[in-house]
Symmetry: C2
Subunit: 139 residues, 2 copies
DNA sequence: CAGCTCCTTGACGTTTACGTCAACGTCAAT
DNA sequence: ATTGACGTTGACGTAAACGTCAAGGAGCTG
């Protein structure tokens, strides 16, 4: 009955493995101020919050955001935790900006996917023609 | 009546401006074998096909693809123009792979957008609370 | 013909996001 | 007590994707 809520924690290696990055990456992010895991002695101990944050960071990366942009956001997140009105307003404005960007990306993605599936369709049609008999090549 | 179909063409500068990149970028892409504009004397002359191709390249970039990946695809596009069966099959396979990836991104994007709008909503709620009276801070 | 604008190639610089040692500490197992 | 697996910091290396000169040519314009 000593430790209630045995909160899960990870070492660098464990977390890096789980997230599919290297330990170097995690240390780099820390040096860049994107995360700040606890220390036990000299060793890093990552908690659930760190893990969530890392997932967000990696997602941002998948969307082509730079670490600088990502940091800007996570910093605001922290700043807004204080619930100060101005911080909240700044964060909200930025979030709406981001949401707009994401919606634009969605549209872009839709167009691209449409194009890709269209070309794939043309491929299939052409292949069907080719294997029809010997190949009615040129009409 | 000499030139029928006065096909539109662009100089580096014009095209760079239109696409929102620098001329350096266009020359770099050429050196990387992503485009190969005509030459009139020493000057590059970009046609509609080059322009379309560049738009595709830039879209790929927006999705975080590397130039190497992009090149792989545009090369296949060219290769498949010959309509050889094996080329077509390779292209088709790759296209389906890409389509799958794009769909995964769509899902990822949806999740992210949902999270962002959710946090924004929380912000608004909190702001409303703050400006309600003076601020019913802690329940 | 001088000046301006736009183009050319070539070479070197820069930033981002890590990779890759090196040199060392620590803990458990053999 | 040594080995091995894991951790630490620090310094240096690197690939990608351009940026930034430098040095020059071609064509128009006053």
């Amino acid at each position: 009955m000593t430790a209630t809520r045995e909160a899960r924690s990870w070492t660098v290696g464990e977390l890096a493995d789980e997230l599919g990055v290297t330990t170097r990456t995690l240390r780099f992010y820390e040096a860049e101020g994107l995360i700040s895991p606890r220390r036990v002695g000299a060793q890093r101990v990552y908690g659930a919050r760190d893990r969530t944050r890392l997932k967000l960071i990696l997602r941002g990366k998948r969307f082509g955001m730079t670490l600088a942009e990502i940091r800007e956001i996570v910093d605001m997140y922290d700043g807004a935790a204080s619930s100060e009105q101005r911080q909240l307003e700044t964060l909200l404005a930025r979030l709406e900006e981001i949401a707009g960007d994401l919606r634009a990306r969605q549209a872009d993605l839709r167009r691209t996917l449409a194009e890709v599936t269209d070309v794939a369709e043309q491929c299939r049609t052409r292949l069907a023609e080719l294997s029809a008999t010997a190949g009615p090549a040129l009409p």
